[in-house]
Symmetry: C2
Subunit: 498 residues, 2 copies
């Protein structure tokens, strides 16, 4: 079919420009010299403009309309469906807006980095105000339905709205807050080990140890790389080239390890996509929520278990001969300590979703008109106080901690919670198929788990919607129950809550 | 002027695509995982096709024609002149040819790398044959004037033809061959030091030492990077981001040092371009010959002198405490040993141009129809024997040594000799302005030399032709005399040739 071929060629061109943006973004975080920032911002804006130009081309509109009337294969239909969504959004935004937004994001990132270091919200405020006001303009341009924030939520996880998240989060809060209280009470009685501050874990040894873990998870280092960056992330780039980053803290080997397991989870998804469909939606990850389910599955449900620690204990000991003679249970308890900490990315599985909800509440107020940027730190700190019963001492540990807002990514955070829920649901379904997962993880051969995920998640790309994908893989529509069961059972046992 | 603005926007788009090719090329040599090769080749071909599409757009032709009739500033006229040249070439090549050629180059690079390692010309032969035949097709498409090889030579240094190179090279050979003989004779009498094989120069220490040298040359590390790759190279990328590479040999610190000085010379040119004219010919380096003059100036005329070694001796000693207690004269003699070696990039200044001429003769025969790819190794080895009086033991040390042919870069080598000639001519002119350069180099403050080159070479970009640029900077048209004077004086003194 000629029309479909022409369509796919255009789709691939658009995705290739996106892949170039991804590549330059990776380079910017990992390697770029500081004085390259300004021309990099210019280049990113230019690529965004070109991509927008091609996406909104009249011919793309004609082709979509024509193909929507045709009899298509499921894969073809998926590409038409996803491109229709992207097209409908893009045609509402002028190219000049897309370019200015990309430029503003690049600049805000630089401003945020120094503001965060100095814990100086005032220094970041002008950039943040600019991004918030541009995002409000974007919501207007895209067309408000009922709730302005919905427009942003939908961008990061199709079909999810405030009316979906509000009850979901309320339900989670109703069970997580009591669990947190019970743990806090029990913590007084239970003796949890801590990391001795006098021991150092050399960077080179951490690197070797973590690469071994990533390899055992199934990451193909001849088709990818691991590097260091301030904020760990992963990038699919293109077939045969998937890269992720981590960070190193000489006092805390868990920081690097769990960053690596998290990012390797993302990277395995990218390496497992069907490259015959490269540079099309069908060959790309379906959503941020599903992506996060892959990272959280490996990080928490595999990585924070005694069975995992049993397997890696010999590697850990040979990498860190100066560490105390911990056994797998002590290491597992070190890795699972529940704390009312300030930092989301360091949070345990009980408090993590509370951190996400706080950001969701702030964003909802910001875009529904109930909160000004000026009042953001106050709102953050008072909400944190009421949920965690702790005062935030400085904005570096509060509203300046995350990179997302400096990238204009409002509406992104809730997908992290979706990822946690999907992961727990996948875990239950996988256990039903493969039997005792503790035994499987403890055997050291993790290939059956990856092989289970490949055809059900990775290889399917954007064939169906995220919710459908989860339902196809697990037999049930997405639900918070498996996660709540999982977290209550796990932490109940760890803290002997009975 | 609206037409010029539209023209420049198109010119910048074309150059941005070129900058992306440069960036991906850098990444490919420095970081890319092996399995990324195939999709990288695809991406490079795609960018080449897009670039070609934009360059050959009908509107570009109209704009050029219109602007050529207008009254333009010198800078504007330079952009129109250079784009006319690129346009006239590009419109003769079909897009499909440009894409296939890019793809063939990417594949040949991979095939050459393994063939070179195994010293197996037969393994590289099919790729080389393919590239040679595509290049012949390209010559046909571009339109033969009289000598087919001229078409290739002109691509790398505008205006240079066989009728220019033949007498130039003959003149050089007439003076260099006797000089080489005299040195070989004298070498028996003169005692030249050699590197003791039992000493190691650790990679980390070499890195620190070389970075110090590059910094002292004026390289701005906050606007660039130094990395490692098999084949040292430099890449301008974009404003504020200039990168070069080196390689490390633990047995030979000179290999890394002179690669760094050479590539830093290139990189200083890129850092010194006028970024107000970024992404246009006016803001880009004028030619490969002039580029090479910058690298050779720093590598040889600054770096291989006793004055240089006097300055860096303390850095050398503190970096390599286990090295013998060499003084600056011994180090200088170590760095200037003349040898009938097999490898061009390791050649001294006397034999270097003979290596270039050999490649020039091979290429000339290949494209003028006097030599087949099958007979290439034999032709190489017999010419090498007749000029150097040494047998080439394996193709790794002969016709497989250089990367150029695997990149389809036929006609490139002669620009290396032009670089040597230009460099010597610039040295004489600089000395006339700044006085005793030995004293200047020996003072350790090399900024006056860079400051001399900036307005005369770097900042002018492609404002005028290479020959005009050299004439403007030195007061005379390009000539081999300054180089011959320089090399005869320098090596005459080193080997006490009377």
């Amino acid at each position: 079919m000629e029309a479909y071929d022409e369509f796919i060629q255009r789709v691939q061109d658009i995705h290739r420009l996106g892949a170039l943006q991804g590549h330059l973004g990776w380079d910017q975080e990992v390697l770029m010299p500081s004085k390259g920032a300004s021309s990099r911002g210019e280049m990113m804006a230019w690529l965004a403009g070109k991509r927008h130009e091609q996406l909104t081309d009249d011919r793309m509109g004609e082709l979509l309309q024509f193909l929507e009337e045709m009899d298509l294969s499921p894969d073809q239909a998926a590409n038409v469906r996803e491109m229709r969504r992207a097209y409908n959004q893009a045609v509402r935004l002028p190219k000049s807006f897309v370019e200015s937004f990309a430029q503003a994001r690049s600049e805000a990132l630089v401003s945020w980095q120094s503001a965060r270091e100095a814990s100086d919200f005032e220094a970041f405020k002008p950039s943040l105000k600019h991004l918030v006001s541009m995002t409000k303009e974007k919501i207007e341009l895209l067309g408000i339905t009922s709730t302005p924030y919905d427009v942003l939520l939908d961008e990061y996880e199709v079909g999810m709205k405030v009316e979906d998240y509000d009850p979901l989060f309320a339900g989670l809060r109703d069970r997580l807050v009591p669990l947190l209280h019970a743990i806090t009470q029990a913590q007084v009685a239970t003796e949890m080990p801590t990391l001795p501050s006098e021991i150092s874990f050399p960077v080179e040894a951490q690197k070797v140890f973590c690469e071994e873990v990533a390899k055992n998870m199934g990451f193909d280092f001849s088709a990818g790389r691991m590097d260091a960056s301030t904020h760990p992330f992963s990038a699919g780039l293109w077939p045969g080239d998937t890269r992720f980053t981590t960070r190193f803290d000489e006092k805390d080997p868990f920081s690097c390890l769990y960053a690596v397991m998290h990012e390797t989870g993302h990277a395995l998804y990218e390496q497992g996509l069907d490259h015959n469909h490269r540079f099309t939606p069908r060959g790309a990850a379906v959503s941020l929520g599903v992506h996060e389910s892959q990272s959280r599955f490996w990080e928490n449900q595999v990585g924070r278990t005694p069975a995992f620690w049993k397997v890696v204990l010999p590697w850990f000991r040979s990498s860190f001969p100066d560490a105390p003679d911990w056994d797998e249970h002590t290491l597992n308890r070190l890795a699972n300590r529940v704390e009312k900490g300030f930092i989301r990315v360091e949070a345990d599985e009980v408090t993590y979703n509370l951190h996400v909800m706080l950001r969701y509440e702030i964003e909802k107020r910001l875009f529904n008109g109930d909160l000004e940027v000026d009042d953001l730190p106050k709102a953050w700190n008072s909400m944190f106080k009421s949920w965690f019963d702790v005062d935030v001492p400085e904005d570096r540990l509060g509203c300046l901690q995350d990179i997302h807002w400096s990238m204009g990514a409002f509406g992104y955070f809730p997908t992290y919670t979706l990822g946690n829920l999907y992961a727990a649901q996948l875990l239950e379904a996988m256990a039903a198929d493969l039997g005792d997962l503790d035994a499987l993880v403890g055997s050291g051969d993790w290939k059956p788990m990856l092989d289970w995920l490949r055809p059900r998640i990775h290889e399917r790309g954007s064939q169906v919607s995220p919710a459908q994908l989860i339902e196809d893989a697990t037999g049930s529509p997405p639900s918070p129950e498996p996660f709540l069961r999982y977290v209550e059972r796990k932490y109940g046992a760890l803290y002997q809550l009975d």
